[in-house]
């Protein structure tokens, strides 16, 4: 009940996080939005991690080589797969949101979702296989 406002003050709703991510009983589009926001936050965190890892290069070849050795560990590759999902989903849904948000194809936003995210899932599977075998 913490998303209800038991007050007469038109104050800020008490649980914005809940209103974004509580997808119980909601439609596919809210799921798409919540997942987009989740992957967006994940990607942003990754971007900073990525930059800090790249900065290892400044400290010479040894520290970089030891990182690369770690990066080849299967558990690390699994993280790559999670990242890949975030990238392809956010990109595909992002294209849909950008199009629909400009009024392009909004009558068919669900079809757009299934087609674009479908393509993204194919890319994801191919990519995931390549990560472990390539």
């Amino acid at each position: 009940m913490d998303d209800i406002q038991p007050t007469t003050d038109p104050v800020r709703p008490k649980a914005p996080l809940r209103s974004w991510f509580d997808v119980r009983g909601r439609s596919m589009s809210t799921l798409a939005f919540a997942l987009n926001r989740l992957t967006a936050v994940g990607l942003t965190i990754y971007l900073f991690l990525h930059l800090s890892v790249l900065s290892l290069l400044v400290r010479g070849p040894e520290s970089w080589d030891s990182f690369v050795a770690l990066a080849k560990h299967p558990l690390f590759l699994l993280l790559d797969v999670v990242l890949l999902f975030g990238v392809v989903y956010h990109m595909a849904n992002g294209i849909r949101v950008a199009l629909v948000g400009m009024g392009v194809g909004h009558a068919r936003h669900k079809t757009l979702f299934y087609v674009l995210v479908g393509i993204a899932l194919v890319l994801f599977v191919v990519g995931a296989v390549l990560i472990f075998t390539g």
Binding site: I4, P10, S19, W20, G25, G101, M102, A107
Partner: protein, 239 residues
């Protein structure tokens, strides 16, 4: 006639009273009992202090909006048996201050609505000039809006920022832009062209799902954006 006992878990809150809590009432229902009628039965037979809004009992006045098992619904047209649950959870709409039990303060909703040019909202379905043009099955009109606030309750973005104009008001604005009838649409477009106007929406389309009256406010927001995008491009190329 089949009758069954159904538990209604109802959100209770009184201004200045104790913290909000749920209270469960058992009500004998048959296949015609709607959630609103069950609530009225509770009020009549079990607890006269239970407060809810209603008027028409047939999905036209838009006053009985509430959340039933977590979904935005008009209580007057939801049959209890259709829900297929032995406990029915009834809560007030979200994103609005609760005044008492199931009643929310609709003030902010109407305020936003009025500035969208309210006078145009419901005219015309029966006017001659509203004859459906050739090639069209029917006009999709925002006159359909019954101002129930369900879309505002369903919208995940209202939860981010209460100053967001919200789906119903934006849909009303689009109605005026789409068919200005002599009004100047420019100030209205300027009004919605802001951070708290149509650009705040994140395309979750939950408003479309919640609307009991075929307004499709999400689509109307995208139409506003298309119009604004067109105008911006035109300005960019000096036309």
């Amino acid at each position: 006639m089949v009758e069954r006992d159904i538990d209604f878990k109802v959100f209770r809150y009184k201004q200045g009273g104790a913290a909000p809590a749920y209270q469960t009432f058992r009500v004998r229902c048959d296949e015609n009992t709607t959630v609103l009628v069950a609530l009225q039965d509770i009020r009549r037979d079990q607890d006269g202090t239970l407060i809810m809004r209603h008027s028409c009992h047939h999905a036209s006045c838009g006053t009985c909006g509430m959340r039933i098992n977590g979904r935005e619904e008009l209580g007057c047209v939801v049959k209890v048996f259709d829900l297929n649950t032995s406990t029915v959870v009834v809560e007030p709409m979200r994103n609005m201050p609760v005044i008492s039990d199931l009643v929310v303060d609709m003030g902010p909703f109407y305020d936003r609505f009025n500035s969208a040019g309210m006078p145009l909202m419901r005219e015309s379905e029966f006017l001659d000039e509203a004859d459906v043009a050739e090639g069209l099955e029917a006009y999709m009109r925002c006159e359909n809006c019954i101002e129930c606030n369900l879309c505002v309750s369903a919208c995940p973005i209202m939860g981010t920022d209460p100053t967001y104009l919200g789906p119903a008001a934006l849909a009303a604005a689009w109605r005026v832009v789409e068919e200005p009838r002599g009004l100047d649409a420019k100030p209205l477009l300027d009004w919605v062209d802001s951070q708290n106007g149509c650009w705040r929406c994140h395309v979750a389309y939950e408003c479309n799902e919640a609307c009991p009256s075929g307004v499709f406010p999400g689509d109307k927001i995208m139409s506003l954006r298309r119009e604004l995008t067109k105008r911006k491009f035109r300005r960019l190329f000096g036309r």
